[in-house]
Amino acid sequence: MKLKKQDTFFICGLLAGSLLFGSALALGRTDGETVVVRVSGEMVAEFSQNRDTVYRIEGVNGEINVLTIQDGEVWLEDANCPDQLCVHQGHIRHAGESIICLPHEVVIAIEGNTEVRSTLDIVAS
Protein backbone atom coordinates (compact mmCIF):
# COMPACT_ATOMS: atom_id res chain seq x y z
CA MET A 1 0.00 0.00 0.00
CA LYS A 2 1.29 3.43 -0.94
CA LEU A 3 -0.23 6.58 0.43
CA LYS A 4 -0.88 9.30 -2.09
CA LYS A 5 -0.63 13.01 -1.47
CA GLN A 6 -4.34 13.41 -0.86
CA ASP A 7 -4.27 10.60 1.72
CA THR A 8 -1.56 12.36 3.68
CA PHE A 9 -3.43 15.66 3.46
CA PHE A 10 -6.64 14.09 4.63
CA ILE A 11 -5.09 12.31 7.61
CA CYS A 12 -3.07 15.39 8.60
CA GLY A 13 -6.30 17.40 8.36
CA LEU A 14 -8.05 15.06 10.77
CA LEU A 15 -5.11 15.26 13.20
CA ALA A 16 -4.95 19.05 12.91
CA GLY A 17 -8.69 19.19 13.56
CA SER A 18 -8.26 17.33 16.85
CA LEU A 19 -5.42 19.66 17.90
CA LEU A 20 -7.49 22.76 17.12
CA PHE A 21 -10.49 21.35 18.90
CA GLY A 22 -8.38 20.34 21.90
CA SER A 23 -6.71 23.72 22.25
CA ALA A 24 -10.06 25.51 21.90
CA LEU A 25 -11.41 23.36 24.74
CA ALA A 26 -8.29 23.83 26.88
CA LEU A 27 -8.25 27.63 26.42
CA GLY A 28 -11.91 27.99 27.26
CA ARG A 29 -11.49 26.01 30.48
CA THR A 30 -12.27 27.64 33.81
CA ASP A 31 -12.93 26.38 37.31
CA GLY A 32 -16.57 25.54 37.73
CA GLU A 33 -19.02 26.65 40.37
CA THR A 34 -22.01 24.37 40.20
CA VAL A 35 -22.36 20.61 39.89
CA VAL A 36 -25.52 19.71 38.03
CA VAL A 37 -27.01 16.21 38.00
CA ARG A 38 -29.31 15.21 35.17
CA VAL A 39 -31.23 11.97 34.63
CA SER A 40 -32.63 11.43 31.13
CA GLY A 41 -31.98 15.10 30.41
CA GLU A 42 -33.98 16.32 33.43
CA MET A 43 -32.11 18.23 36.13
CA VAL A 44 -32.62 16.38 39.43
CA ALA A 45 -30.09 18.07 41.71
CA GLU A 46 -27.65 20.93 41.87
CA PHE A 47 -24.73 21.42 44.28
CA SER A 48 -22.10 24.01 44.98
CA GLN A 49 -18.72 22.65 43.97
CA ASN A 50 -17.14 24.21 47.05
CA ARG A 51 -19.18 22.32 49.60
CA ASP A 52 -18.25 18.68 50.29
CA THR A 53 -21.20 16.44 49.52
CA VAL A 54 -22.15 12.80 49.09
CA TYR A 55 -25.35 12.20 47.15
CA ARG A 56 -27.17 9.09 45.96
CA ILE A 57 -28.41 9.67 42.42
CA GLU A 58 -31.41 7.68 41.38
CA GLY A 59 -31.00 6.95 37.66
CA VAL A 60 -33.52 5.33 35.35
CA ASN A 61 -35.32 2.30 36.82
CA GLY A 62 -34.13 3.29 40.29
CA GLU A 63 -30.50 2.41 39.54
CA ILE A 64 -27.95 4.07 41.80
CA ASN A 65 -24.83 6.20 41.29
CA VAL A 66 -23.07 7.74 44.28
CA LEU A 67 -21.79 11.25 43.65
CA THR A 68 -18.99 12.66 45.80
CA ILE A 69 -17.80 16.26 45.91
CA GLN A 70 -14.69 16.95 47.97
CA ASP A 71 -12.22 19.85 47.85
CA GLY A 72 -13.65 20.98 44.53
CA GLU A 73 -13.14 17.55 42.96
CA VAL A 74 -16.18 15.73 41.67
CA TRP A 75 -16.44 12.01 41.04
CA LEU A 76 -18.71 8.97 41.15
CA GLU A 77 -17.63 6.88 44.11
CA ASP A 78 -19.84 3.92 43.30
CA ALA A 79 -22.48 2.70 40.87
CA ASN A 80 -24.46 -0.49 40.34
CA CYS A 81 -24.09 -0.45 36.54
CA PRO A 82 -22.42 -3.49 34.97
CA ASP A 83 -19.58 -1.71 33.17
CA GLN A 84 -18.49 0.74 35.94
CA LEU A 85 -17.29 3.09 33.22
CA CYS A 86 -18.60 6.13 35.08
CA VAL A 87 -16.61 5.22 38.20
CA HIS A 88 -13.49 4.73 36.10
CA GLN A 89 -13.91 8.15 34.50
CA GLY A 90 -12.23 9.57 37.59
CA HIS A 91 -12.27 13.09 38.97
CA ILE A 92 -13.36 16.31 37.27
CA ARG A 93 -13.14 19.93 38.41
CA HIS A 94 -13.36 22.33 35.45
CA ALA A 95 -16.43 23.99 33.98
CA GLY A 96 -17.75 22.05 31.02
CA GLU A 97 -16.35 18.69 32.18
CA SER A 98 -18.75 15.87 32.85
CA ILE A 99 -19.14 12.29 33.98
CA ILE A 100 -21.68 10.14 32.22
CA CYS A 101 -23.29 6.83 33.08
CA LEU A 102 -24.95 5.68 29.88
CA PRO A 103 -26.92 2.69 31.25
CA HIS A 104 -28.55 4.86 33.95
CA GLU A 105 -28.81 7.94 31.69
CA VAL A 106 -27.07 9.99 34.36
CA VAL A 107 -25.00 13.05 33.47
CA ILE A 108 -22.94 14.94 36.05
CA ALA A 109 -21.77 18.25 34.63
CA ILE A 110 -19.77 21.08 36.15
CA GLU A 111 -21.06 24.44 35.08
CA GLY A 112 -19.54 27.89 35.46
CA ASN A 113 -21.47 31.04 36.20
CA THR A 114 -25.16 31.35 35.37
CA GLU A 115 -24.46 33.21 32.15
CA VAL A 116 -22.59 30.26 30.70
CA ARG A 117 -25.29 27.89 31.82
CA SER A 118 -28.12 29.77 30.12
CA THR A 119 -26.19 29.78 26.85
CA LEU A 120 -25.56 26.05 27.15
CA ASP A 121 -29.23 25.41 27.74
CA ILE A 122 -30.18 27.37 24.65
CA VAL A 123 -27.78 25.27 22.58
CA ALA A 124 -29.00 22.05 24.17
CA SER A 125 -32.69 22.77 23.63
Binding site: M1, K2, L3, K4, Q6, D7, F10, I11, L14, L15, G17, S18, F21, G22, L25, R38, S40, G41, D83, L85, C86, H88, Q89, G90, G96, E97, S98, I100, L102, P103, E105, V107, A109, L120, V123, A124, S125
Partner: protein
Amino acid sequence: MTKTKHLVEYGMLAAVAMVLSYLETLIPAFFAVPGMKLGLTNLVVLTALYRMGARPAIAINFVRIILTSMLFGTAVSLWYSLAGGLLSGAVMIALKQTGKFQPLTVSIAGGVAHNVGQIAVAMLLMQTTAIAWYLLALWVSGIAAGAVIGLLGSWLIDRLPKTEGGMA
Protein backbone atom coordinates in the same frame (compact mmCIF):
# COMPACT_ATOMS: atom_id res chain seq x y z
CA MET B 1 -22.45 -15.94 -8.59
CA THR B 2 -25.84 -17.41 -7.91
CA LYS B 3 -28.30 -15.94 -5.45
CA THR B 4 -27.57 -18.75 -3.01
CA LYS B 5 -23.85 -18.11 -3.10
CA HIS B 6 -24.48 -14.44 -2.40
CA LEU B 7 -26.74 -15.32 0.50
CA VAL B 8 -24.13 -17.63 1.99
CA GLU B 9 -21.43 -15.05 1.57
CA TYR B 10 -23.44 -12.28 3.23
CA GLY B 11 -24.40 -14.59 6.06
CA MET B 12 -20.84 -15.72 6.67
CA LEU B 13 -19.48 -12.19 6.70
CA ALA B 14 -22.25 -10.97 9.00
CA ALA B 15 -21.39 -13.88 11.32
CA VAL B 16 -17.69 -13.00 11.26
CA ALA B 17 -18.57 -9.38 12.02
CA MET B 18 -20.75 -10.46 14.94
CA VAL B 19 -18.05 -12.66 16.41
CA LEU B 20 -15.58 -9.78 16.16
CA SER B 21 -18.11 -7.47 17.88
CA TYR B 22 -18.43 -9.97 20.68
CA LEU B 23 -14.68 -10.56 21.00
CA GLU B 24 -14.22 -6.85 21.33
CA THR B 25 -16.56 -6.61 24.29
CA LEU B 26 -14.26 -9.09 26.08
CA ILE B 27 -11.32 -6.70 25.87
CA PRO B 28 -11.75 -4.02 28.52
CA ALA B 29 -8.93 -2.06 26.92
CA PHE B 30 -9.78 1.53 27.65
CA PHE B 31 -11.50 2.35 30.90
CA ALA B 32 -10.67 6.02 30.73
CA VAL B 33 -13.02 6.88 27.90
CA PRO B 34 -16.26 4.97 27.43
CA GLY B 35 -16.89 4.03 23.85
CA MET B 36 -13.21 3.88 22.95
CA LYS B 37 -12.59 0.68 21.06
CA LEU B 38 -10.75 -0.81 18.16
CA GLY B 39 -13.74 -1.41 15.90
CA LEU B 40 -12.65 -4.87 14.75
CA THR B 41 -15.96 -5.23 12.92
CA ASN B 42 -14.96 -2.45 10.63
CA LEU B 43 -12.36 -4.82 9.21
CA VAL B 44 -15.21 -6.87 7.75
CA VAL B 45 -17.09 -3.81 6.52
CA LEU B 46 -13.96 -2.31 4.93
CA THR B 47 -13.05 -5.55 3.22
CA ALA B 48 -16.62 -6.08 2.00
CA LEU B 49 -16.70 -2.52 0.71
CA TYR B 50 -13.59 -3.04 -1.39
CA ARG B 51 -14.21 -6.60 -2.49
CA MET B 52 -17.98 -6.62 -2.96
CA GLY B 53 -19.15 -3.02 -3.14
CA ALA B 54 -21.16 -0.48 -1.20
CA ARG B 55 -24.50 -2.28 -0.94
CA PRO B 56 -23.19 -5.56 0.51
CA ALA B 57 -21.04 -3.58 2.97
CA ILE B 58 -24.06 -1.64 4.23
CA ALA B 59 -26.24 -4.75 4.36
CA ILE B 60 -23.69 -6.79 6.34
CA ASN B 61 -23.05 -3.93 8.75
CA PHE B 62 -26.77 -3.34 9.29
CA VAL B 63 -27.52 -7.00 9.97
CA ARG B 64 -24.54 -7.21 12.30
CA ILE B 65 -25.65 -4.15 14.31
CA ILE B 66 -29.24 -5.36 14.71
CA LEU B 67 -28.23 -8.90 15.71
CA THR B 68 -25.43 -7.90 18.08
CA SER B 69 -27.69 -5.39 19.81
CA MET B 70 -30.40 -8.01 20.20
CA LEU B 71 -27.95 -10.54 21.61
CA PHE B 72 -25.61 -8.49 23.76
CA GLY B 73 -26.93 -4.94 23.84
CA THR B 74 -29.81 -2.82 25.00
CA ALA B 75 -32.37 -0.63 23.24
CA VAL B 76 -30.15 2.36 23.91
CA SER B 77 -26.96 0.74 22.67
CA LEU B 78 -28.76 -0.10 19.43
CA TRP B 79 -29.16 3.60 18.65
CA TYR B 80 -25.52 4.30 19.41
CA SER B 81 -24.37 1.43 17.22
CA LEU B 82 -26.71 2.38 14.40
CA ALA B 83 -25.65 6.03 14.42
CA GLY B 84 -21.97 5.13 14.51
CA GLY B 85 -22.19 2.27 12.04
CA LEU B 86 -24.34 4.01 9.46
CA LEU B 87 -22.47 7.32 9.58
CA SER B 88 -19.09 5.60 9.29
CA GLY B 89 -20.43 3.39 6.48
CA ALA B 90 -21.72 6.42 4.57
CA VAL B 91 -18.45 8.32 4.97
CA MET B 92 -16.35 5.34 3.90
CA ILE B 93 -18.48 4.71 0.83
CA ALA B 94 -18.38 8.39 -0.15
CA LEU B 95 -14.60 8.55 0.20
CA LYS B 96 -14.06 5.30 -1.63
CA GLN B 97 -16.35 6.42 -4.44
CA THR B 98 -14.16 9.48 -5.10
CA GLY B 99 -11.46 6.99 -6.09
CA LYS B 100 -8.79 9.27 -4.65
CA PHE B 101 -8.09 7.63 -1.32
CA GLN B 102 -6.35 4.47 -0.09
CA PRO B 103 -8.22 2.00 2.15
CA LEU B 104 -6.14 3.24 5.10
CA THR B 105 -7.51 6.77 4.75
CA VAL B 106 -11.04 5.51 4.16
CA SER B 107 -10.80 3.42 7.33
CA ILE B 108 -9.47 6.32 9.42
CA ALA B 109 -12.29 8.59 8.22
CA GLY B 110 -14.73 5.79 9.04
CA GLY B 111 -13.32 5.42 12.56
CA VAL B 112 -13.70 9.13 13.25
CA ALA B 113 -17.18 9.25 11.70
CA HIS B 114 -18.27 6.29 13.83
CA ASN B 115 -17.34 8.08 17.05
CA VAL B 116 -18.77 11.41 15.92
CA GLY B 117 -22.07 9.64 15.19
CA GLN B 118 -22.15 8.09 18.66
CA ILE B 119 -21.40 11.39 20.39
CA ALA B 120 -24.09 13.11 18.32
CA VAL B 121 -26.65 10.54 19.49
CA ALA B 122 -25.44 10.90 23.08
CA MET B 123 -25.91 14.68 22.85
CA LEU B 124 -29.42 14.20 21.48
CA LEU B 125 -30.48 11.47 23.93
CA MET B 126 -29.10 13.16 27.00
CA GLN B 127 -29.76 16.75 25.95
CA THR B 128 -26.31 17.90 26.93
CA THR B 129 -23.44 19.66 25.24
CA ALA B 130 -21.16 18.84 28.15
CA ILE B 131 -19.54 15.91 26.36
CA ALA B 132 -17.27 17.90 24.05
CA TRP B 133 -14.24 16.45 25.83
CA TYR B 134 -15.28 12.93 24.90
CA LEU B 135 -15.61 13.99 21.31
CA LEU B 136 -11.97 15.07 21.38
CA ALA B 137 -10.81 11.81 22.97
CA LEU B 138 -12.97 9.72 20.66
CA TRP B 139 -11.87 11.72 17.62
CA VAL B 140 -8.22 10.89 18.34
CA SER B 141 -8.97 7.28 19.26
CA GLY B 142 -11.03 7.02 16.06
CA ILE B 143 -7.98 8.01 14.04
CA ALA B 144 -5.78 5.48 15.85
CA ALA B 145 -8.28 2.63 15.65
CA GLY B 146 -9.09 3.46 12.03
CA ALA B 147 -5.39 3.34 11.19
CA VAL B 148 -4.90 -0.10 12.75
CA ILE B 149 -7.98 -1.49 11.02
CA GLY B 150 -6.99 0.27 7.79
CA LEU B 151 -3.55 -1.35 7.76
CA LEU B 152 -4.97 -4.82 8.49
CA GLY B 153 -7.73 -4.24 5.94
CA SER B 154 -5.36 -3.13 3.16
CA TRP B 155 -3.33 -6.25 3.75
CA LEU B 156 -6.44 -8.41 3.64
CA ILE B 157 -7.86 -6.73 0.53
CA ASP B 158 -4.59 -7.21 -1.34
CA ARG B 159 -4.15 -10.84 -0.37
CA LEU B 160 -7.62 -12.30 -0.71
CA PRO B 161 -7.90 -14.20 -3.97
CA LYS B 162 -9.74 -12.14 -6.55
CA THR B 163 -12.82 -13.99 -7.75
CA GLU B 164 -15.65 -12.76 -9.84
CA GLY B 165 -18.40 -10.92 -7.99
CA GLY B 166 -17.31 -11.71 -4.46
CA MET B 167 -14.62 -12.67 -2.05
CA ALA B 168 -15.49 -16.24 -1.18
